[in-house]
């Protein structure tokens, strides 16, 4: 159970998006804005956005078990993570750039700032990239990340998660978020996850899907992403 001060400043629907100030997550305390956000008109600057990514992405980028370039394979439980990216009316959003980063199976990031004594895996960078296809589908092959400790409070551990960046089409619909795994016992203790209003938290949790699981190869997890609406569908022209 988390007791915390929850700020009133939220960008977007306050039933969906976390507030900037959520003091159980201590890094919000000196970084959350305190002035009301300014209500501005939506113009071309917000309804357009970066979208020309094709040359930046190769097929190999979506396989985190082998994209370290060592010729070796990452150690851990192999998983397929896939889902659809749609607008809020269910229309698929193709050609979105999905970038992910994650800890290895032991809960350790390659990042130089991650210094806890979890082992590094020489064959795992924890970085992947792909574009959604015409049906708005993305798909990664990776290993299931481990939980890792952080210094937010005493004996604090982040639940296993994969960071997702979803970029394309409309500047206003930019999304950076984290995907979690169903039944993780750490979710209830995590202030970052719990900063999301309770009714929306389940939308950050992937579901195990046996139809995605491939025999004698990898377990399947499904997680869909829904982005804000109107401008995204006007794009059809």
């Amino acid at each position: 159970m988390i007791t915390t001060t929850i700020g009133e400043i939220v960008r977007g629907d306050a039933n969906v998006f976390p507030p900037y100030l959520y003091d159980a997550y201590r890094s919000t305390i000196r970084r959350a804005p305190q002035q009301p956000l300014i209500d501005v008109p939506l113009t071309l600057s917000e309804t357009t956005g970066p979208w020309q990514f094709t040359e930046r992405v190769t097929k190999e980028d979506a396989d985190l078990t082998r994209n370290a370039g060592t010729g070796g394979e990452a150690i851990g439980q192999r998983i397929i993570v896939t889902g659809h990216v749609t607008d809020d009316r269910g229309a698929p959003l193709p050609n979105m750039l999905i970038e992910i980063w994650q800890a290895n199976a032991a809960g350790r990031y390659v990042h130089k700032a991650d210094k806890w004594p979890g082992p590094l895996d020489p064959n795992f960078l924890g970085i992947g990239r792909c574009l959604t296809n015409d049906a708005g589908t993305y798909r990664f092959l990776t290993v299931r990340p481990g939980a890792y400790p952080w210094r937010n409070e005493s004996n604090a551990w982040r639940p296993a998660h994969i960071h997702f960046s979803v970029l394309g089409r409309a500047w206003k619909d930019r999304l950076v978020t984290q995907m979690y795994f169903a039944d993780d016992p750490l979710l209830g203790r995590d202030p970052i996850f719990n900063a999301v209003p309770e009714s929306s938290r389940s939308r950050l949790i992937a579901s195990y899907d046996h139809d995605i699981t491939e025999p004698e190869w990898a377990l399947g997890w499904r997680w869909d992403v829904v982005l804000g609406g109107a401008a995204a569908t006007v794009f059809e022209a």
């Binding site: 970084r31 300014i38 071309l44 917000e46 980063w101 970052i192 999301v196 982005l227 609406g229």
Partner: protein, 199 residues
């Protein structure tokens, strides 16, 4: 304009955390030069600092930048003036260093037309960092632009806070850039940058 009722609930945001660099700022990903060497327009060099509510450097922020070309055209299918040629991206990403400093180069964007006029030239900025559970949106405008006085977005900002969105002209120090600017981003406090409710 009426909208159909929404049928799917949106995906909530989460912080970018401290470990994004190798992914989002990877050399093969979008970077700090928004335009190619041959893009037309006046070269600009921008630098600034991201600061927290104590005035301390934010050494682990990443900024995303989005702008029109030198004629004010977004290279995007929704901009009717775009020719369909894709020799210009207008998108960039920069991280802050240990001092909270960032820098990027681009071309001066042109004025973007809107109902009955033009927007003042500007660069859209999204700010991500550990401790930001959702990113922040703002814009950087340019000093000595008469059109700042009639810009529909800038006019929504309370007058005392407008200057937080206007870059300062700096002595030119980069020989490749005709103009240099400084633009600081203050996340919290008395000099807090004006952030937008865009969603």
């Amino acid at each position: 304009m009426s909208r159909e009722p929404s049928v799917r609930a949106l995906t909530p945001s989460q912080t970018v955390g401290p470990f994004f660099h190798d992914c989002l700022l990877d050399a093969s990903a979008p970077c700090a030069t928004l335009v190619g060497d041959d893009a037309p327009g006046q070269r600009i060099a921008v630098h600034g600092y991201v600061l927290d509510g104590d005035g301390a450097a934010v050494p682990d922020a990443v900024l995303e930048l989005w702008q029109a070309d030198d004629r004010g055209v977004y290279h995007h299918p929704l901009d009717a003036r775009w020719s369909g040629r894709s020799d210009f991206s207008g998108f960039g990403r920069v991280g802050t260093d240990g001092d909270g400093r960032f820098e990027f180069t681009s071309v001066l964007p042109g004025p973007v037309p809107c109902d009955g006029g033009h927007h003042a030239p500007h660069i859209s900025i999204a700010i991500f960092a550990r401790g930001l559970l959702n990113h922040l949106f703002t814009r950087m405008y340019f000093p000595d632009e008469p059109s700042n006085d009639t810009d529909a977005t800038l006019l929504r900002v309370p007058p005392l806070r407008r200057q937080t969105l206007i870059a300062r002209a700096m002595p030119q120090s980069d020989e490749r850039a005709a103009r240099a600017y400084r633009f600081d981003i203050v996340l919290q406090g008395r000099d807090e940058t004006a952030f937008f409710a865009i969603a």
